[in-house]
């Protein structure tokens, strides 16, 4: 059956927003619990940095206090990167997609969104933050499970998966970038207790702590953590793992549905995968991890653009919906 270009785009973005929401909930949760400095304070500002929201945040807040940052990322409807905004956009896409997705997928997103809106900051004082984040994470995972169990496996499924893996790869590079950026410049701290706990935080944010320990039972260094998150072939959030998925999805999508377009997108994925496999982590760090991650993000953006051109009809029509990278 033909898939409407606009539906494909909505499916892609619904998946991205849900994935993004889960990642943000993870980051807020792990941050509150583990990311403390020597005085036991949480550096909430790093979350603002992670999302590159400094400008918008400071236009409405003087200082990155816990309350301000938590509210900004959970309930601020003006902030397009807040959980409530992401859920609104996921729901808007799901609403358009109701003829295409299962009733259960729609209902769960609808109820999830409505509950979050009803909460409106009430009861999310810091002591409750972890509980709320856990709830959000579970709702996102429920979405993933319902989707896995009820979403019909035709073209739509591939666009869903593409959205999910592109977003996930992007989130992992951002997480790694900000931590590396803020942690590495202090050579004195490398290997200290604090440094270790910060790197543990990075792994926990990506649900990778135990997996990392299994691979590296004894050592933990910025290099091994970065390498694990970038290149590990078994870790579901590693960049290489995600890009391999994207590669496979595009290939199968094109062959199974004999879609005419999409070759440019596939080329871009090949390029990225080639680049990722070309250098070991040590070399990457030596050349500059930040620049490297920036490059990966730009390439993921490029893949999204090509997918839009090939399948969402973006060459022919201006889409009124503006969904953001």
């Amino acid at each position: 059956m033909n898939l409407l270009a606009r539906y494909a785009e909505c499916i892609f973005w619904m998946a991205r927003y849900m994935e993004r929401a889960e990642n943000l909930a993870r980051i807020l949760d792990v941050h509150e619990t583990f990311a403390r400095d020597t005085r036991g304070m949480t550096n909430w500002f790093s979350i603002v940095q992670l999302n590159a929201d400094e400008k918008d945040f400071f236009s409405r807040h003087d200082r990155p206090t816990a309350e301000a940052v938590v509210h900004y990322y959970m309930f601020d409807t003006q902030n397009t990167n807040s959980l409530v905004s992401m859920l609104r956009m996921a729901r808007e896409n799901a609403r358009v997609l109701r003829p295409w997705i299962s009733t259960e997928m729609w209902t769960q997103i609808n109820v999830f969104h409505n509950k979050l809106v009803e909460m409106n900051g009430k009861g999310v004082a810091l002591p409750n933050l972890s509980k709320v984040c856990t709830w959000i994470k579970e709702e996102c995972q429920t979405h993933t499970g319902i989707t896995e169990g009820t979403f019909y496996r035709d073209q739509g499924w591939y666009f869903y998966q593409l959205g999910k893996y592109i977003e996930r790869a992007d989130q992992t590079t951002r997480l790694l970038d900000i931590k590396y950026h803020t942690l590495l410049p202090s050579p004195v701290a490398v290997g200290s207790t604090l440094d270790m706990s910060q790197w543990t935080t990075v792994l926990r944010s990506a649900a990778g702590y135990h997996a990392f320990r299994r691979v590296y039972p004894r050592g933990m260094s910025p290099t091994t953590v970065a390498g694990f998150m970038m290149f590990n072939e078994g870790f579901p959030r590693s960049v290489v793992m995600c890009v391999r998925q994207i590669d496979g999805l595009l290939t199968r999508l094109k062959s199974r549905y004999t879609l005419r377009n999409g070759s440019d997108a596939m080329e871009k994925v090949d390029e990225l995968l080639g680049a990722l496999l070309a250098r070991p982590i040590e070399e990457v760090i030596q050349l500059g991890l930040h620049e490297y991650l920036d490059g990966v993000q730009a390439q993921l953006c490029g893949i999204t653009t090509e997918i839009g051109r090939a399948f969402f009809g973006q060459d022919t029509v201006p889409m009124t919906q503006s969904q953001s990278q």
Binding site: N2, L3, L4, A5, R6, Y7, A8, E92, R95, V96, R98, P99, T103, W106, T107, N110, V111, N114, Q155, F159, Y257, T258, L259, R260, N261, F311, F312, G313, T316, V317, T320
Partner: protein, 499 residues
Amino acid sequence: MSVPEGKATDLLTNYDPGLYYDELFGGRDYPAEHSALIRQRLAGLNFGDLLRRSQDAERELYNLGITFLVYSNKDAVDRILPFDIIPRVISAKEWAHLEAGITQRVTALNLFLHDIYHDQKILKDGVIPADLVLGNGCFRPQMVGLDVPFDTYIHIMGTDLVRDREGTFRVLEDNGRVPSGVSYVVENRHMMQRVFPDLMQDIGIRPVDNYGHKLLDAMMEIAPQDVADPQVVLLSPGSYNSAYFEHIFLAREMGVPLVEGRDLVVENDRVYMKTTNGLARVDSIYRRIDDAFLDPKAFNPDSMLGVPGIMEAYRKGNVALANAIGTGVADDKAIYCYVPRMIKYYLDQEAIIPNVDTRICREADALQYTLDNLDKLVVKPVGEAGGYGITIGPRASKEELAECRAKLLADPSNYISQPVVDLSVCPTVTDDGIDPRHVDLRPFAITGKNTWVLPGGLTRVALKKGTLIVNSSQGGGSKDTWVLQDGVLQDGAQEGSAS
């Protein structure tokens, strides 16, 4: 069902429908036998349980997003259509009568549309004044001489029925453009199955959930004949339309894409939709956009919702549209009065379901009658929609009546008059217990090659005490409508006996 001590044991004991016909109890002299078992089961419930179920149902509707958008100031709010869990019950015999009457009416209206867009015999024979049709804003000259498959113009029809004090069903209005509400018919049934399975058990209620299949069948039938496997789509104005839920519902039920104008293009007088694999042919369109907005090239040039060039593709026979263009002239208030004569003219039959007794003031004796009984009648201008310019005699002041009289005399052909109809009532859950509330009924008919009437319809209920206005914008809600199967156990006295 256990009953708390100290409470009345029978929920319906104190129920009093007053002078009105009651949908569950029947008329004063004709108690409804067919609903005896349902009454008996309802009477045995306690009110707290009923309220709880009612709240469960409304919460569920909200969670499922079975909502419509209400625009207030600048905000759009999602609202559910309030749902009353006491069903409205129609016997097999009553339904057979309604089904025949609706089919007859759709048939006559389609014959009328074909006639006025071809030979215009009914106008030439003076049965209907030509100016009423040709001067009507909904008459589309683009349709003149155009043939449509099976001569069907109104594929989807919603007929608004009311029941008077004597229990007679009457047609209040025909909806032959883009009638809505059928999604609630099906969803209300699903809701009842969830919250009230014990009430429904062994009643023998005719199912309503095959509406989507029937609609798809009709959409396939009317597609261009040279297409082997027609692509059907539903064309919606988009997610900000207040009836968007229904569009989703119907697209899902038919298993077809829900498209918007921006998803479609016309090339070489053929309609295509934009897919992940480029353009794909579209053969049959269930459009939920009014004529005026459908094609900026043919109608309203400012429309952003439509598809430029689609009218020409339609004229060439390359795409089917349901409903056809130009059906609005058949469900106009002025034309409504002539439908019984139309039925006589085309089918040589009397109308099976009568109109509300309507007088056409352009006719001398009707004008005289209206003037003589002004304080008892409702006077409506024919050109206006949405209740504008209506004078309700029994509630009007002397000055208003005088003003109405003057207008009637100045331009009689702009007016019709009707008696005030005492809509029937149905037991309804209210804050004060079970109370009678006024209801109407909108059954839906689908016509491709033949006409099929969905057994049931949308029962709208005026939730405000005493009011006759059932519209959702005025505090109206809806009920599940049960059409009973013929010959199934329906006698309360026999419940529990071996079967």
